[in-house]
C-alpha cells in the first residue's frame, strides 16, 4: 500500500468552505464540544449516509439505546474523516465500538486509494482508542443502473475485507440487503436519489447492523 504522502485518500484534509458559511468546520467544532460530556459506547462516523441516519426514527429505535453518538458529515471522503478524527473528535470519548461508513464520496480516487484511506482511519482509531473495535460498513451500490462507481465501491469492499481479515480489532460488515434488482436497477424507494437511503432503506440496512453491533458490544463487555 502506498504511503500516506502519495495517497490523497489517506492524507488528513479538512473540508474546504467553498460556499461561504463555514459549515464543515462548524460541524466539526460542534462534534468536538458535543462529545465533552457524553460517554458513548458506540461512535458512528462517516459521510451523509451516517449523518442522515440520525434524522430518522430508526436512530431513536435502534441506536440511541446503545448510547451511540453520530459524527457524520455529508460529502465527506476518507481524508476528511481522517482529519476530523485526528483533530479532536476522539479527544474526549472512549467508545467500545466505532462504526465507520465512508468512501463513496472519494471521487477521482482509485479503489486501492480509497481502501488505503479507510485503513488509515482504522489505524488511527487503534492508535487513539486501543481498546475499541472498528466495524467498517461496506460501501453501498449507487446509481439507478450499473455504472463505474458501483464497480469501484464493490472493489473497495473487497480490498478492505482482505485488509482487515488479519486484524483482531476490525472487520467489514456488508450491509447491502440486496438493493440491486435482477435487472441491475436500484429503486428510489430504497435510495431516493440512487445514493441516499430512504427510511425504508435504512430499516433494511440497520436491522442486521443493530444485531451485529449488539453482539460486538457483548463481546467487548466480556473482555
Amino acid at each position: 500500500m502506498s504511503s500516506e504522502d502519495s495517497n490523497p485518500a489517506a492524507t488528513p484534509t479538512p473540508g474546504v468552505d467553498t460556499q461561504g458559511d463555514g459549515r464543515w468546520m462548524s460541524l466539526h467544532n460542534h462534534f468536538v464540544s458535543n462529545s465533552k460530556d457524553k460517554e458513548p459506547d458506540v461512535l458512528f462516523v462517516g459521510d451523509s449516509l451516517v449523518q442522515l441516519l440520525y434524522q430518522f426514527e430508526v436512530w431513536q429505535d435502534l441506536f440511541s439505546p446503545l448510547h451511540a453518538l453520530n459524527f457524520g458529515v455529508g460529502g465527506d471522503a476518507t481524508q476528511h474523516v481522517l482529519w476530523r478524527l485526528s483533530n479532536g473528535e476522539l479527544g474526549h470519548i472512549s467508545p467500545k465500538v466505532v462504526v465507520l461508513w465512508v468512501g463513496t464520496n472519494n471521487h477521482g480516487h482509485t479503489a486501492e486509494q480509497i481502501c488505503g484511506g479507510i485503513m488509515a482511519i482504522v489505524q488511527l482509531i487503534k492508535d487513539k482508542l486501543p481498546k475499541a473495535y472498528t466495524l467498517v460498513l461496506g460501501v453501498l451500490p449507487r446509481g439507478k443502473m450499473p455504472n463505474p462507481l458501483r464497480e469501484r465501491n464493490a472493489q473497495v469492499n473487497k480490498l478492505v475485507q482482505e485488509a482487515v481479515s488479519s486484524l483482531p480489532h476490525a472487520s467489514l460488515l456488508n450491509v447491502d440487503p440486496g438493493f440491486v434488482h435482477s435487472d441491475g436497477s436500484i429503486s428510489h424507494q430504497d435510495l431516493y436519489d440512487y445514493l441516499h437511503l430512504t427510511p425504508q432503506g435504512y430499516q433494511a440496512v440497520c436491522q442486521p447492523l443493530h444485531a451485529h453491533l449488539k453482539g460486538l458490544l457483548e463481546k467487548q463487555a466480556e473482555n
Binding site: G20, D21, G22, G143, N147, P148, H188, D193, Y194, T198
Partner: protein, 272 residues
Amino acid sequence: MSGDEINPAAVAQAVEDVQGDDRWMSQHTRFVQECKDAEPEVLFIGDSMVQLMQQYEIWRELFSPLHALNFGIGGDTTCNVLWRLQNGELDNIRPKVRFNWASTGPEREKSTAQGNSFVPVMHFIQIRTPNQYLIGPLQVTVVWVGTNNHEHSAEQVAGGILAIAQLLTSRLPKTKVVVLGLLARGDGPNPLREKNAAVNGFLRSWLPRLGQAQFLDVGAGFVHSDGTISTRDMFDFLHLTAAGYRAIAKPLSDLLLQILDETPEEKRASLV
C-alpha cells in the same frame, strides 16, 4: 434587472454527470414519468430542501393527502430547475376534462396546459349525474430553490426564481405558484445569510406583479437571539431536521389548504 443583460441564474442548464453514475438525469427521467400516472393537485419543485421533505413523516401527514408530487433534486440551482421544467417535468400535467350536462346534451369544456392538444370526446363519455367532476388539475406549484446558486448575486438568484414563476404561470395559467423564501444557513452570521435575505427581499416586491404567484416566508424562528442556528432545526446548519420541517410545514400546509379550498370550479368530489 438592468437592461438587456442575460441573467445567468435564469438560463436553463442541466447538471453534468461528473461523478459517473448519472443520478441527476435518472431522477429527472423518473419525474417526467411520475406525472403521467399521478395526477397531482400540488407540485413541489426545487432543491434538497424540497427533496428531503418527502423522506420525513410530515410529508405523509400533511402533503400526501393533498395529492402532492415531489420533484426536488439535491444541489439544484434555479438554472437546473428551469431546465427540468422546460424538458418534460410539466409535459404530462393535463387538466381532467369536465362535463356539464345541459338540456341539449353534454357540453365539453376543456383547457389544456399547453393549449394545443386535442382530446377526442369519445374517450370521455361516461354516464354521470349532473354536477359531478373528476378530481381537478394541478392547482398549486410550490417552488423552493436558490440557496445553491453560489455563482450568482442575490439579484440574479431572485431573477432566476422569478423566471421559474413566469414559466409556470405561462405554461399553467390556472395554477397558483407559491415561492418559499430562502432560509438562513450556517452556524452563525455569514454572507450567505445576508444574500438569502436579500433574495427574499427582491422576491417580496417582484412576485406580486405576477398575478398567480405569491411569496411565503417560512424562515421565522430559526435564527436565535445570539445569531446561532441550532442543529436541532438544521442538522448541518443548512438541511432541516424533522423538527425543522414541522415548523415550516404548518404555515405552508395552511396556505395550500386555503388555495385548494378557494378554487370554485374543481371540487373534491368522489370519483364515480
